[in-house]
């Protein structure tokens, strides 16, 4: 139970970093921390105490299936990591382009769209 709570704490830390920091690269790091928190949460959902890796080896009997941790959340996390990588690449290239246009990474000087 405390493990799930710690995942939420990590999510909140990422959210705090996203909201409270002015540098846009730090905001990107905040989003990345939130991604890690959710991936950790998904893996922990599938965990079983005393379980082993869900890889079938030659010579395993039929009873071995009961000791595996759940492999489905691991497949979900693989997909989620790839999506996070794509979004991170897009965010970083936008940061670089914004630096070229404005000369600064500071969000309060970049935001001109109002009203």
């Amino acid at each position: 139970m405390t493990v799930y709570f710690l995942c939420v704490v990590l999510l909140t830390m990422g959210l705090y970093c996203l909201v409270a920091k002015k540098n846009i690269v730090k905001k990107v790091i905040g989003v990345v921390i939130m991604d890690y928190a959710v991936n950790l949460y998904l893996i922990i959902i599938g965990y079983k105490t005393g379980g082993t890796a869900p890889v079938v080896e030659p010579g395993m009997g039929e009873r071995a299936l009961e000791r595996f941790v759940d492999p489905l959340p691991q497949a979900l996390v693989l997909t989620s990591i790839v999506i996070g990588l794509g979004v991170l690449a897009l965010m970083v290239s936008m940061c670089i382009r914004l630096y070229e246009k404005h000369g600064t990474f500071d969000m309060s000087q970049i935001s001109k769209l109002r009203g």
Partner: protein
């Protein structure tokens, strides 16, 4: 981009080939050991990125040109889609028409092996292109920053 010092260049020359072979091993044995298309593709892309960091962009582009990277990128993704289409003629998308084979052999488990290879091409070349695109921007903005400092 110019590349780094002589030590890095020498070690890069030794190590790049092993990295590519290791990445290919992870891709090909993806249905037997952990790894698969995505992880192997990232490792192969790391080999080319190491080449770009150690020697500079021109040497990396002479090994894997920009046009070839874009063509391989799209070809990998289209190969994945075509494997799905092949199953469609059997009734359902992604139906396994390749035959299962024996357990624990290299050529087994149906269409997982061709899919891993297609994804390795796609992911590897995509990461290489992304890194090359980011490298262009860095050079221009650094120079303008230094020029602003000096003027």
């Amino acid at each position: 981009m110019k590349g780094l010092t002589l030590i890095v260049k020498t070690i890069t020359d030794f190590v790049v080939a092993f990295i590519v072979v290791f990445g290919a091993y992870i891709v090909l044995y993806g249905h037997l050991t952990p790894g698969g298309g995505f992880a192997g593709g990232v490792i192969i892309a790391c080999a080319f990125i190491l080449l770009m960091l150690g020697h500079g962009k021109e040497v990396a582009f002479s090994r894997l040109g920009e046009r070839l990277a874009h063509v391989l990128d799209s070809a990998g993704a289209l190969a994945f889609l075509i494997i799905g289409w092949i199953g469609f003629w059997g009734g359902y998308f992604f139906l396994n028409v390749f035959g299962r084979g024996e357990q624990f052999r290299l050529i087994s488990s149906g269409m997982i092996l061709p899919i891993n290879i297609a994804i390795a091409f796609k992911v590897g070349t995509s990461l290489f292109i992304v890194f090359a695109a980011l490298a262009i921007f860095r050079r221009r903005s650094f120079r303008s920053m230094i020029e602003d400092e000096l003027s």
